[in-house]
Each structure stands twice: as structure tokens, then as C-alpha cells.
């Protein structure tokens, strides 16, 4: 019988079925960062346990670090304390840390694939919900909490129930000015933020197959925003070409043997799914969120919907969203004024994202009264962008060129909204208070659309800016 990647990888990592009925699942790659691990290391110490497979555990610093001056001690004493704990724990347990001095530091979901740590056929866990990102190479990757981090450190395993599997097909082709971010925002809009609860997503179809690895990373990244804890794309030639030559990918003949195995884990033709949903790629236009969860979005040419257009159970959330955002139902999203523009995050902080944003930045200057930040996803992304002169394009247009980190995606460092500021953001969440100010407002969109909004001082259609 034809099998899915999900079944093959799950079965290969199953240690045993637990008395509860859950699977004891081996985790092939454990990625850790400074925010969700100090308590886990403390629990490990209290249990007098070691890290079970230190060679399968890698750490970085991303959430709390400043993106201006990264020399320690950090100005924020709490951030400094977390960094100090991370250094101490990694040293004590003998684990590698990609810190600033390594030249390989960055957002954990950017550096995993970039370093070739993330590989097809693996199970990957990290104390961060956007671990779904790594599914882009054909891995089962999902976020876990801190006590589960303790379990993975101590046992290299998780007690977890197998989810159902849904194939999400994106057929046809994308129009010009429509990007991977618009694809995933459209999927979330059509299937809903609760639509994926209980499912893993396999993204397939011609649009997904044509995507570059960086585009697939963007799509898989936001699986969790659609309720699916993990999402993946089957490994293919794009995957293999992407991994070749990366520092932690196999080299020489070993690479060819690895590539053959990677291809063998892909879903076989005729395999069945618990559910299949199809989206027409040609129907997607640049998307902008207008509300307080990532499902609340419209195409840039459309108007903000009224609560009455939603199912009754959703209407209170719509009303709350309109009140928080200061929008009227029926108002066009295009032209909504912004105060801040942010290009970065594990969703859209990779080199191709910066290239697209720079293309748009060449068309004008950041509008007066708009604060615009470009935050590369990793040191290596920053270095590659600088080698191409992207930072100069951004700076000439009035964007600030920052150092790598999570930055304004969640505002745990000094990069935060102030008061009710409205942000055009390439990140993943428009939750109330997400970008650091309890009353701040977020409009999610692609990096190209963020750059267009920065130039126009308001939500704009990047297809017009680029024309």
C-alpha cells in the first residue's frame, strides 16, 4: 500500500507504544533557545539526569537579543540573565551553542535549515511553536513546551499522540506580486485558525512543487497559525539541491546515499489522507490581515468584512477585532495608515525575502513618520545580504538595517511597538499585544507588501509599486 511521508517517518521514529496509548517518539534533532529552556535544564538538574543525546541537540540565542548593539552584557538585565543561563547550561551539559561569535547565530528556524541540520525524514522538536518551519525539507517538526523540552533533553523522546493527516493542495500558478506568504495566509483564511487542530498538513500541488526551499519554509512556518502543529512538503530535487554543501549536511558519496534515502521517504503516489483540501493558486492575491488572528485577512483589493458576514459564533471576535484595530466594517484595507514597517522573523527573514523587499525599496523612500526595520533572520543571511549590497539599498531608502534576531515579531527585545502604533509586519501573528505594546496593532503581509507600505505610509498594492 502506498504510504505517506508522515507515516513512514513516524513509524521509523517510534520507540514503542506507551501504556497510555501514545507513541514514544524519538526526536532526531532537538533545537533549543534561551527563552523556553532555563526551567527545563533546572528540572534536569533536579532529576540528576544528563542530556541523552548531546550530539543531536543544538542551541542558539534569538528571542531576547537586541538587534542594535549585541555586545554583552545586554542593557536589559533580564535579557542578560537569560543569555548567561543559556551559556552556562550549554557549557554544563556539553552542548553546542551558535552564539554571536560563531558567525552562525540567528533565529532557530532560520539557522536549522541554513546549516543543513534540518534534513528530510527527521523528527525535529523545539520549544517554539514555529518549529513547523522545518517541515519544508520533508521532516516532521513541531513545537513543544518547556516540560517537554525536559523530556527530550532527558530521554530524546516525547510522549505524543499521532495526529490525523490532511493534504493541502495548491493548484495552478501564482500571479505576479503574489508570494509564499500570501499562499499560507490564504490557506489559513480558507481553512480557519482552528481548521488544522488535530491534523498535520502535507502541502502539495504544482504551486508548492515550484516553490524554492525558502518559500516552502515560509508556508510551513505558519502551519501552527492554521491550528496544525506541523506541516511538511515532500522532499524533491529542490530539497536536495538546497541541502548540498551545507555545513551539517553529509558530503561526497555520503550525500548521494543520503539524497536517495531522502527521496525514499516522500509520500508515494496513491497514498491516502484523512482529508484533502484544494486551493486554486490563481485565486490568490496579495493578502493583508485586518484583525487579531491570522485568519482575519483580505486580499489587498478587498474591504474589511462585517461581523454579520461571519458565522454567529465568530461575531464577537470580529467585533473585538474591529474595535482593537480601529477599523470600520466595509473599509478598504488599502490605504490603512501605518506607523511601523517590519521585515524579518522566522516567517520572512531569509535572503530571498530581503531581496524582494529591497527590490520594492528601490522604488521610493520610507514615508515620513514611518519607522522601518529590516532584521535579517541570521548572521549568515545578514552577511549574504550585505555582500549583495542590500543593506545599502535599504539604508538609502530610509530603512534601518539591524542585526539578526526575532526582534519585533514578539517584542521580547527593545524592538517594540509603542502605544497604538500600527505595524505592517512580515511576521506571523497579529494577536493583541504581540509586538510588545498591549494596545499595538499588527497587519500581517508579505515582505514585498511591507516594503510597499513603508514607502506609501499606508497599506499599498505591491503590484502597483513594482509596475
Amino acid at each position: 500500500m502506498a504510504r505517506t511521508l508522515f507515516d513512514k517517518v513516524w513509524d521509523a521514529h517510534t520507540v514503542r507504544t506507551l501504556p497510555s496509548g501514545q507513541t514514544q517518539l524519538l526526536i532526531g534533532l532537538h533545537l533549543i533557545h534561551e527563552v523556553t529552556t532555563p526551567q527545563a535544564f533546572q528540572m534536569l538538574k533536579e532529576l540528576k539526569l544528563k542530556v541523552r543525546m548531546p550530539e543531536r541537540t543544538f542551541g542558539t540565542l534569538d528571542h531576547i537579543i537586541p538587534t542594535t548593539d549585541q555586545t554583552r552584557p545586554y542593557a536589559d538585565p533580564m535579557a542578560e540573565d537569560m543569555a548567561a543561563h543559556m551559556y552556562r547550561n550549554m557549557k554544563e551539559f556539553g552542548l553546542p551553542l551558535f552564539d554571536m561569535a560563531s558567525g552562525q547565530q540567528g533565529i532557530v528556524h532560520v539557522i536549522g535549515p541554513e546549516l543543513g541540520l534540518t534534513q528530510p525524514g527527521m523528527t525535529i522538536a523545539c520549544g517554539d511553536s514555529h518549529t513547523s518551519t522545518h517541515g519544508a525539507v520533508g521532516a516532521i517538526a513541531f513545537g513543544i513546551g518547556t516540560t517537554q523540552v525536559r523530556d527530550v533533553l532527558a530521554t530524546q523522546c516525547l510522549a505524543i499522540a499521532k495526529p490525523k493527516l490532511r493534504q493541502v493542495r495548491v493548484d495552478g500558478a501564482l500571479a505576479k506580486g503574489v508570494y509564499a506568504k500570501d499562499v499560507i495566509l490564504t490557506i489559513i483564511n480558507r481553512l480557519g485558525v482552528k481548521g488544522g487542530v488535530g491534523y498535520a498538513y502535507e502541502y502539495a500541488g504544482p504551486v508548492m512543487e515550484r516553490m524554492t526551499m525558502e518559500e516552502r519554509l515560509t508556508v510551513c512556518n505558519m502551519s501552527i497559525e492554521g491550528g496544525a502543529r506541523c506541516g511538511y512538503v515532500n522532499p524533491d530535487q529542490t530539497t536536495i539541491d538546497y541541502l548540498r554543501g551545507r555545513p551539517y549536511a553529509p558530503a561526497g558519496d555520503a550525500f548521494d546515499r543520503a539524497a536517495a534515502w531522502w527521496k525514499s521517504v516522500a509520500t508515494e503516489p496513491g497514498a491516502s489522507f484523512d482529508d484533502v483540501k484544494t486551493i486554486d493558486g490563481a485565486s490568490i492575491e496579495p493578502v493583508v490581515t485586518w484583525g487579531i488572528n491570522p485568519e482575519m485577512s483580505v486580499g489587498v483589493s478587498q474591504r474589511i468584512p462585517s461581523p454579520e458576514s461571519a458565522p454567529e459564533a465568530e461575531r464577537p471576535t470580529y467585533r473585538e477585532a474591529l474595535a482593537h484595530m480601529g477599523f470600520e466594517a466595509g473599509q478598504p484595507i488599502k490605504g490603512a495608515k501605518i506607523d511601523v514597517a517590519f521585515v524579518g522573523s522566522c516567517t520572512n527573514g531569509r535572503l530571498s525575502d530581503l531581496r524582494i523587499a529591497a527590490e520594492v525599496a528601490k522604488k521610493g523612500k520610507v514615508a515620513k513618520n514611518v519607522r522601518a526595520l529590516i532584521v535579517p533572520g541570521s548572521q549568515q543571511v545578514a552577511k549574504a545580504a550585505e555582500a549583495e549590497g542590500l543593506h545599502e539599498i535599504f539604508q538609502a531608502a530610509g530603512f534601518q538595517w539591524r542585526k539578526a534576531g526575532c526582534s519585533m515579531c514578539l517584542g521580547m527585545n527593545p524592538d517594540q511597538l509603542v502605544g497604538r502604533e500600527m505595524s505592517a509586519s512580515s511576521s506571523n501573528r497579529n494577536f493583541i499585544g504581540r509586538q510588545g505594546s498591549p494596545t499595538g496593532r499588527t497587519l500581517l503581509m508579505s515582505p514585498a507588501m511591507v516594503a510597499a507600505a513603508a514607502i506609501n505610509g499606508a497599506v499599498a498594492d505591491v503590484r502597483e509599486t513594482l509596475r
Binding site: 521514529h13 517510534t14 520507540v15 514503542r16 506507551l18 501504556p19 497510555s20 496509548g21 501514545q22 514514544q24 524519538l26 532526531g28 527563552v35 523556553t36 532555563p38 526551567q39 533546572q42 543525546m53 536589559d76 537569560m82 525524514g121 527527521m122 520549544g127 511553536s129 513541531f142 513543544i144 513546551g145 518547556t146 516540560t147 517537554q148 525536559r150 523530556d151 532527558a154 530521554t155 530524546q156 523522546c157 516525547l158 510522549a159 499522540a161 485558525v193 482552528k194 487542530v197 488535530g198 501552527i224 491550528g227 502543529r229 553529509p250 555520503a254 534515502w261 488572528n293 459564533a313 465568530e314 471576535t317 514578539l410 521580547m412 501573528r429 493583541i432 499585544g433 498591549p438 494596545t439
Partner: protein, 198 residues
């Protein structure tokens, strides 16, 4: 005295938090994650929502001491931060009844021994109203029987088999159970080509 890990039944006063898609940023804003322990997290549960809305149930003296949280659909969606269930637990929450739960949040609750039960929209609306009318009365969350009892009424409230077995059997704190696999862990790893080497 030994600790009883079994979560067959939780009895306590209720607290309703209405609304769907309440994310973990809302439950505990990211600025409170800048800490190396979970201590004191309970004070900040729903902090910004409470400041913006004086009527928020977590502000109301009527609900102080409540331990059964009654919520809507997709509660705890978003970030994997365990700080969210930690904050609720440290505030006093021992069980949650809702329509559905963010999956990572649900798993984080299980590993902390906090049952999350799913009930129908109709029953949830009734329970939220009933609890707000009689905040001093106890709600019984029966994990084993998969029902919630309040006053005269019994509503159906489900937990999938595996987490229910863990909660009822007291095996939700999973490290010890996982360690029991012993050498089977290394054996499984050793069969994976990327572990044993290409």
C-alpha cells in the same frame, strides 16, 4: 506523605472566560517570559486583558479561589510557551473545560497534570452563564467519566483516550515513563540512517 498524581476528578469553583481563539500571548504576554523560572507567573495571567477590561473575570473578587476555567473554542492557540498553563496553574486553575484547545497548549497542560475537557458549544454557553450566576458553587470535572457536573445538570466533556489514561492513571509527568524504554531508545536511533551515518 506521597503526592497523588491521579487526576480522576477535580472539584472547585468555576471561572468563565468567554470568547474564541484566546491565544497564549493573551494569557501571558511575552514580556513575562523574560525569566529563568516560572515563579510568580500566576500574578500575570491575562495581565493586559485585565488592565484593558476591568470587568475581566480574573479581576473579579467573586472568582478569586476558582479552579475550573470555562472557555470557548481554540483556547490557548499560538505560541508554545508553557508559561501560559503555568500562569493559569499558579493562579489556581486545576482543570479547563472548553470547545477545543490549541494543540501545544493542550499537551503542555497534560504534562502539568491539568485536564482540558471538550464540551459542546451549547453546554459551554450554559456552563459559563450558570457559573457566573453562582460563582460560589462547586463544579465537578470528572475526567474518568468524561462529564462535568454543576448543580443538577451533567454535561458531556471529553478527553481523548491517551491523555485521559495519563491523567487518570497519574502518569502525565512523562520523563519516568519515557526512561523506562531504556536501550530501545538508542536502538531506534541506531536504525535511522542519519544517526548511524550514511
Amino acid at each position: 506523605m506521597s503526592v497523588d498524581y491521579k487526576r480522576r476528578q477535580i472539584v472547585g469553583r468555576g471561572i468563565p472566560v468567554a470568547g474564541n481563539d484566546i491565544d497564549t500571548d493573551r494569557i501571558i504576554p511575552a514580556r513575562f517570559l523574560k525569566a529563568v523560572t516560572f515563579e510568580g507567573m500566576g500574578e500575570h495571567a491575562f495581565e493586559d486583558a485585565r488592565k484593558q477590561n476591568p470587568e475581566h473575570p480574573f479581576n473579579s473578587p467573586a472568582y478569586r479561589g476558582a479552579s475550573v476555567l470555562v472557555v470557548g473554542q481554540n483556547f490557548g492557540c499560538g505560541s508554545s510557551r508553557e508559561h501560559a498553563p503555568q500562569a493559569l496553574m499558579r493562579w489556581g486553575i486545576r482543570a479547563i473545560v472548553g470547545g477545543s484547545f490549541g494543540e501545544i497548549f493542550f499537551g503542555n497542560c497534560v504534562i502539568l497534570g491539568i485536564p482540558c475537557l471538550r464540551a459542546s458549544q451549547e453546554d459551554l454557553e450554559w456552563l459559563q452563564k450558570a457559573v457566573s450566576r453562582a460563582p460560589g458553587d462547586a463544579v465537578t470535572v470528572d475526567v474518568e467519566k468524561q462529564e462535568v457536573r454543576f448543580g443538577e445538570r451533567v454535561i458531556k466533556a471529553t478527553v481523548p483516550d491517551a491523555p485521559r489514561n495519563q491523567l487518570v492513571g497519574g502518569t502525565w509527568d512523562s520523563t519516568a515513563v519515557l526512561l523506562e524504554a531504556g536501550a530501545a531508545i538508542e536502538a531506534t536511533a541506531g536504525r535511522l540512517p542519519y544517526v548511524k551515518g550514511w
